[in-house]
Subunit: 340 residues, 2 copies
């Protein structure tokens, strides 16, 4: 038996059959039933050495690749339905490696209602995981383009912690290589803070329920998920809406863990938040009179929502601080520059 066919057999054992999936993995394409209505679709590719460390655990990698895509649907206010998974990897990794990635992606998708319906394996000199995910909007799709002057700007969760977690994961990997044992600790950080920062990077939480609430209850005027840093993504939302976003320094949520990490690294924690990336939090705008409803929605879901600024006429994204304002739209992470 061909090894790709063995993989398909493993996949079938892993995935539950039955409706709405009429034809699952192992045929030329998947066939599934779908109720009428709008389809919201996205794809994201993650690459070894660029988006994750070579030593990344494959199941966690699959979870994370799924989360990155789920976050895009969250930002549209959509409910996930199904996903396709393509994996490129070195043959020496062995047949369990892509199965572990698949297990992670299928599990993470499943937590949000998305069924893994098909995939592809390819030989490659490094690991690449591409997921395509689709679903349906629960209300009017949330785009990036509806923000209006006078709106308030909100940010969910703990942005910046993922960027700190990535620095931390790299340091710990270097310690481990230097022979510090299999699970070295980062000096000066509490176990709790270390865990929180690492988890933010390794296993980000897609804000599906929040996006759905913002769309269903028509709370937000525009929304984007923060994948490349709050700065550049604020600039993108501003550009799409034809407005200016002003973030107020004292309102930006800096968690105790992020603050501790910044002190140990002699870094302004706000730089991690503004230019870090990989957070997968939602940045959204809402009419300034609606803040009680927004706060109630966050409280109902147990998600911290911070009102971080305001929308003005104009263009670009700036940070307002004691010394004046500075441009933050060019701060973020540029995919073309990542490896350099």
């Amino acid at each position: 038996v061909n090894s790709e066919d063995r993989f398909v057999a493993g996949l079938r054992a892993l995935l539950p059959g039955g409706r709405p999936v009429l034809v699952g993995p192992g045929d030329d394409a998947a066939v599934l039933e779908r109720a009428p209505g709008l389809l919201v679709a996205t794809t994201d590719m993650v690459v070894e050495g660029v988006d994750f460390l070579p030593a990344e655990d494959p199941e966690r990698l699959g979870r994370r690749a799924a989360a990155v895509n789920l976050s895009d649907l969250a930002a549209m206010g959509a409910e996930p339905e199904a996903l396709l998974l393509a994996i490129g990897f070195r043959r020496e990794r062995g047949p369990d490696y892509p199965l572990a990635i698949t297990r992670g992606a299928a599990a993470r998708g499943g937590e949000f209602g998305a069924r893994l319906v098909g995939g592809d394996l390819s030989d490659a000199p490094l690991t690449i995981v591409t997921i395509a995910l689709w679903g349906r909007p629960v209300g009017r799709p949330l785009t990036r383009s509806g923000a209006k002057p006078g709106d308030a700007v909100y940010l969910s969760g703990r942005p910046g912690e993922a960027a700190a977690g990535l620095v931390l994961a790299r340091r710990l990997a270097a310690f481990a290589e230097q022979g510090a044992g299999p699970t070295p600790r980062f000096p000066g950080l509490t176990v709790h803070d270390e865990k929180e920062l690492l988890a933010a990077y390794r296993d980000p939480e897609p804000r599906i329920a929040l996006g759905a609430a913002l769309s269903r209850d028509e709370l937000a005027t525009a929304c984007i998920d923060v994948s490349d840093g709050v700065g550049v993504d604020a600039g993108r939302l501003a550009g799409a809406s034809g407005v200016r976003l002003v973030l107020e320094r004292h309102r930006l949520p800096v968690t105790p863990a992020l603050r501790s990490f910044g002190e140990l690294e002699s870094k302004d924690p706000l730089d991690l938040l503004l230019s870090g990336g990989d957070d997968y939090e939602l940045l959204f705008t809402a009419p300034s009179g609606g803040s009680e409803r927004v706060e109630a929605a966050g409280a109902a879901l147990g998600i911290r929502l911070s009102r971080v600024g305001r929308v003005e006429a104009g263009s670009g994204a700036v940070l307002e601080e004691a010394g004046g304002i500075r441009d933050i739209a060019a701060l973020g992470y540029d995919h073309f520059r990542r490896a350099s």
Copy 2:
């Protein structure tokens, strides 16, 4: 402006807007209208140095990546609707490189009714293109699992020519590196044959119209697209259907170009056909009494259809030749072994 945003601007200029696409490239996800009914979905990843040569023209690469996916929908008897495109590439290739891939994929998809609705760019140390494509079945979806003892086995087009074209492309690339000029010729082959073989590899023709006819008119009992060689794919169809496929050597279509190439290379052209791969022809089964209808469908579409064998009770795929029979199900291309 961030370079990914510049790419999105280029993409928008390239892609026509309007229904059924409500939100196209440049937001967190695409939003499109879709009539009710079954959804047929597939994904395929192609990797530099594994699935295509590093010097491959980017627009042609985009066309080919689209064709590989379109072929999967063809094998299900589905009409393409939309596609998502993820590209990983070295930054040194410059911003026009992913745009050219995109242009090729969008054009090739468009020829078959599939709109490019979104995508992702990633930095990577080599080029990787992953496409996810979906559409709707025109009739009952053609699976691999409906073949019955007594059925006849058919093959479309000119299988084996793509494998010959790949060998040829590699030789020509090596000649060019040795200073034989930018467009060296392969000695002994006519210009016509060389063109035909190279085109079979570089720009395969997805058999969308044939798959649709087989499904709509209920002509086929099972179908697979030949991506990894007729041998292994015959074995896959046999395995999914729980039958044995017997291909008869004298019935297999060997074109004059494939025969000439085999002679020049001292290779049995049937080996290229059975174990070559990358053909994207359809291998299908049909009731043996229906051969006139099948042939009429091929004639109406201008596609050569060869009746190449029969379905028997049992398992596996074999070639029947003067000296007896031989197993061909293990001949084909194994993705896990490609680079070794």
